[in-house]
């Protein structure tokens, strides 16, 4: 696999606040990545650093093998769809689409037109008069029709309804299949997008806590439930991700179980339940104080 972005030991501080803390990871070519994490975890800061819109406090970033800061050659291969994109006063959606080819060499105007119809975007209305969902639709259309070798979608669907989000996912998959390229999707709607992802990078408090293939994560944890004493005996010495108690019953999330361990649990009368990607990420990014709190209670 070729990496289109390589980040090593990257840090970003704003005064006393460490937004990114010695992050190292790679964005692989022609792969759909999920950049996941809670609000304020550092997702947007990471994307701004990768696209040269901010200076790192330490560490290095290679975008297409080069330093991204003020590097128009490397950045010409990038499309960054921001959550809060600002447009010039009096701009209409049609102006955005008309100016897009100046920034994106691979721009497909006919495809953009089809997407405008899909999302029912009014082209001739001033952008500041558009709804939040219509504003997001502009971003989604530009992100898809730009066909940039590396496209970042930062929470692209604020205000988009369920139908429009589904259109976005379907068009993204279709277009990715016919025009393979690198996509980074930053979101907290993990359940909705997880099946689209090939790699998952999870940020928490500025640190990379998961960097894995999505398929390796699925089924990598199980919930073991049953009488407290039996559960405690079974999970003794294991890596416990989460623990819940209700009276004499206990429900514990543990890392991957082998086939033999699963049948041992079944023989002991314990119930096993799978853990979804979203649940796993919630478990991983719940702050330490929360964990201590739930264990103490």
């Amino acid at each position: 696999m070729t990496a289109v972005v390589e980040v090593s030991d990257l840090s970003k501080r704003f005064g006393q606040f460490t937004a990114i803390d010695r992050a190292s990871f790679a964005i692989e070519e022609n792969t759909i990545h999920g950049l996941l994490g809670r609000n304020g975890a550092g997702k947007t800061t990471l994307m701004q650093l990768m696209t040269g819109q901010d200076f790192a406090s330490g560490g290095s970033i290679r975008l297409f093998g080069e330093n991204p800061v003020e590097n128009s050659r490397a950045l010409s291969g990038v499309c960054f769809i921001k959550e809060s994109q600002k447009y010039p006063e009096d701009f209409k959606a049609k102006h955005v689409l008309r100016s897009a080819p100046w920034f994106f060499p691979e721009w497909d105007a006919a495809y953009a037109e089809r997407l405008v119809a899909d999302f029912r975007l009014p082209l001739d209305r001033r952008i500041k008069k558009l709804s939040r969902g219509q504003l997001s639709a502009i971003g989604v259309i530009v992100g898809l029709a730009s066909r940039a070798p590396l496209t970042f979608f930062d929470e692209p669907y604020l205000g988009l309804d369920a139908v429009a989000r589904q259109i976005f996912y379907d068009r993204l998959l279709e277009d990715y299949a016919s025009h393979p390229r690198t996509i980074v999707l930053s979101t907290h709607l993990i359940d909705e997008v997880s099946a689209l992802l090939e790699r998952v990078i999870v940020v928490d408090e500025g640190r990379i806590v998961i960097d894995s293939s999505a398929e390796d994560l699925r089924g990598s944890a199980s919930i073991v439930a049953g009488p407290r004493a039996t559960v405690d005996a079974f999970v003794d010495g294991r890596d416990v991700l989460h623990r819940e108690q209700l009276g004499g019953l206990s429900s514990v999330t543990v890392a991957r179980l082998s086939e033999a361990e699963r049948s041992a649990a079944a023989r002991a009368g314990l119930e096993l339940a799978p853990v979804s990607l979203q649940q796993l990420i919630v478990r991983t990014t719940t702050s330490t104080s929360d964990k201590e709190w739930s264990q103490a209670s």
Partner: protein, 126 residues
């Protein structure tokens, strides 16, 4: 094991395994006959709304097992004899995955083996 529907995938197990099982089910039920072409990776991806690489991994799992084979430049096909092979593989697991849980659940509810057998017979005739 979860084999409830071939039309959806869930997030609790690797999706490529579910894709492979879905194709196996279609071969077993005769929806996909031997020597016919299976949908392409991109068709699977669009249908299930999953990443094409994940769909490809599911298809390749069955290629490695000899259930599917590749015709260069055309696509993937169901191998001759794969239906019988799959049935034999599934039969081995039938006891542990279906019969034993059935007996265990029946015991919990106080249904005797004789009553259980009677229930199965009734299903047959209905």
């Amino acid at each position: 094991m979860n084999r409830r529907s071939r039309h959806t995938v869930d997030e609790s197990r690797p999706i490529f395994v579910q894709i492979a099982e879905g194709i196996e089910n279609d071969i077993l039920s005769g929806v996909l006959a031997e020597e016919t072409q299976v949908p392409s990776t991109n068709e699977f991806a669009a249908y299930y709304r999953i990443n094409p690489a994940t769909a490809g991994k599911g298809v390749n799992l069955l290629v490695d097992e000899g259930v599917l084979y590749k015709k260069r430049g055309i696509g993937m096909f169901v191998a001759e004899g794969s239906r019988a092979t799959l049935a034999a593989k599934r039969r081995e697991k039938f006891d542990s995955e279906f019969v034993r849980p059935l007996i265990a659940e029946a015991a919990k509810l106080g249904i005797s083996r004789t009553e259980l057998a009677e229930l199965i017979r009734k299903e047959e005739t209905s």
